[in-house]
């Protein structure tokens, strides 16, 4: 086995509030290999964005890492002082946010922002950095890049802006990019362009991506492996094909069949009854048990860990019944 690029071990993210400690992410572990696109899917409040923020060291207080380790190339990065983490951010881990407007400074031209980022992390001169920036903009598909480089963010459309953000994330060739809902704010036709671009670039540069989204379609198109999160826990990790076609965990199963299908039209969608619990009252045992159609007595008492089932890992007490 090759060494993983990133490994997250027993990560726990907590919020201290005046009503006690809320556990937003509870004991999750996964590994990402170099060059792999790793999807993280879950509904809002499942803790997927927090996981991404924890990896890149941008958890907003009062959120904090309560336990666990994050290792990049075997080096612990979850307890680094701010200054060292800042160097890793951008150089080794890049970030793409949902809203391209908030990740670009509206007061500077995109050229200046690109050059600044490149110069922070490399030894390039201004001219070299600028040339590199133009190349990058061309690579992300911005027409007339040489001219557009001196434009301000507001002069770009949403899709073009997200391309600039991708260029910004890629400009010093990081090993890992965390993309948090990169296409959610975009229109469907633009969304497809951005997904295709992201996939191609990461392939070309050998960059690994953590793709955080609530849109299973995006994951199915792009990712190699996918992790399904529910109420701050990982319920299933597996190959995308496996999870989409034949999910093992009851929640993942329900999630897949709840997506309206294009090819056939049924009068009734499969639905998961109930709602995801609030962080303040996550049930004992398996967090999904009150909504689970296959709930057993022990599910109400004990939280299942991830069990290896074939190529997948599933957190379900029915693991011995599951055949993959």
């Amino acid at each position: 086995m090759t060494k993983p690029l990133l490994s997250v071990d027993n990560l726990r993210i907590e919020f201290n509030t005046r009503r006690g400690t809320l556990v937003a992410v509870n004991d999750i572990s996964f590994k990402i290999n170099a060059g792999e696109i790793f999807g993280v899917i879950g509904e809002s409040g499942a803790g997927k964005s927090l996981t991404g923020q924890a990896i890149i060291g941008l958890l907003e207080p009062p959120g904090k890492i309560g336990a666990g380790q994050i290792k990049l190339n075997d080096r612990r990065i979850d307890n680094l002082p701010y200054d060292q983490m800042r160097k890793i951010r951008g150089k080794e881990i890049g970030m793409i946010f949902q809203d391209p407007l908030t990740s670009l400074n509206p007061l500077y031209t995109i050229g200046r922002q690109l050059v600044e980022t490149i110069q922070t992390h490399t030894e390039m001169t201004v001219t070299q950095a600028r040339e590199h920036a133009v190349d990058l903009l061309e690579e992300v598909g911005i027409p007339a890049a040489g001219k557009r480089i001196d434009h301000y963010p507001y002069q770009f459309s949403g899709g073009m802006r997200q391309r600039v953000v991708i260029a910004l994330a890629l400009c010093v060739n990081p090993k890992l990019i965390i993309a948090d809902e990169p296409t959610t704010a975009l229109d469907v036709s633009i969304q497809a362009q951005i997904i295709a671009l992201l996939k191609k670039l990461c392939n070309d540069h050998g960059t690994a991506v953590i793709l955080i989204t609530h849109d299973m379609g995006v994951i199915a198109e792009t990712a190699d492996r996918v992790a399904v999160m529910y109420a701050g826990r990982l319920v299933e990790i597996g190959q995308v094909r496996q999870v989409v076609k034949k999910a093992a965990h009851p929640y993942a199963k329900g999630l897949m069949s709840a997506i309206p299908s294009l090819s056939q039209r049924s009068r009734k969608l499969t639905q998961i009854d109930g709602t995801m619990p609030r962080l303040s009252d996550i049930p004992k045992g398996c967090a999904f048990h009150p909504r689970c159609p296959e709930c057993m007595d022990m599910c109400k008492e004990n939280q299942p860990g991830l069990f290896n089932i074939g190529p997948s890992q599933v957190a379900c007490w029915r693991y011995h019944d599951i055949k993959l």
Binding site: G159, D187, A192, A220, I259, P260, R265, I272, M276
Partner: protein, 333 residues
Amino acid sequence: MISNSKSSPLLKVTGLKQDFEVSKPLLNRLIEGQPRQFLRAVNGVDFVVNSGETFALVGESGCGKSTIANMVVGLYTPSAGKIYFDGIDMARLANRNAEMKLRQRMTMIFQDPYASLNPRWRVSKIISEPIQAFGLLKGKKAILERTGSLLRKVGLSARDGDKFPHEFSGGQRQRISIARALASEPEFIVCDEPTSALDVSVQAQILNLMTDLQNQFNLSYLFISHDLAVVRHMADRIGVMYLGRLCETAPADDLFDDPKHPYTRLLIDTIPDIEMTGRERTPVQGEIPNPMDPPRGCPFHPRCPLVQDHCKTTQPVLTSIGKSRRVACHVIT
């Protein structure tokens, strides 16, 4: 046209237009000598919604679908064109009495479950507002009973009426919105992206609920969405919009099995492939033009793979193809 159906349509919209003024303030205009500027959000749209059916409008942001929804329920006054509800011209209502009578028969469900409920009102008060506005029931007790039964109908409990909206999740709030919509006993509901703010599993719950209620009360829906998969699931007929115009209307199955207009084809092509059939997708090239300055001729021509010379100068009109489909394209006929 669809007018071959036996009953007359419940909603009929003809030549609908909506201009928004986007001029600078008066003083700036006077000093800088600029004319008033308008954005044509909807540019000559006609369609019908028959009783008991779901007609969906799909399109990307800025195509004017939500503006149409707002005009139909009377939140905007159309700049041109007519809206007939059950044969009544909505712009020519005799008095408030007639207006309220019409308003009682149609209502709307909104997109954002966090903004569509007054945060300072209890749920029972929110749901009883239409009941009181239309004078459907008299007496506190009767109204309370009715709100309770409405809450049960949408899958909540009558006790939830005492709570405030912030105590509910997004999906539950959307259920409350639906209960409020049902409170006025309408025949026709305009649904403006009712599930686009919700998670997939909750979306399934809400869509199923809406289907059940449609069957139970013989409701007609005007369903606005950008999500083709959702539209495919909900709609009987679909209208595809681009830059304020309809480019194709067809029964749902026909539209997905055999899309005619190049934009429809590309739109269907861009849907991420959840079935993983491995089909190659061709992303639509280019971006949506600025609606302030739409292209001449067919608005889709700068992005169209089939573009011909006269597409750039002449605007295509919706023409019937077969008995239930209309397409606005010079090339496809």
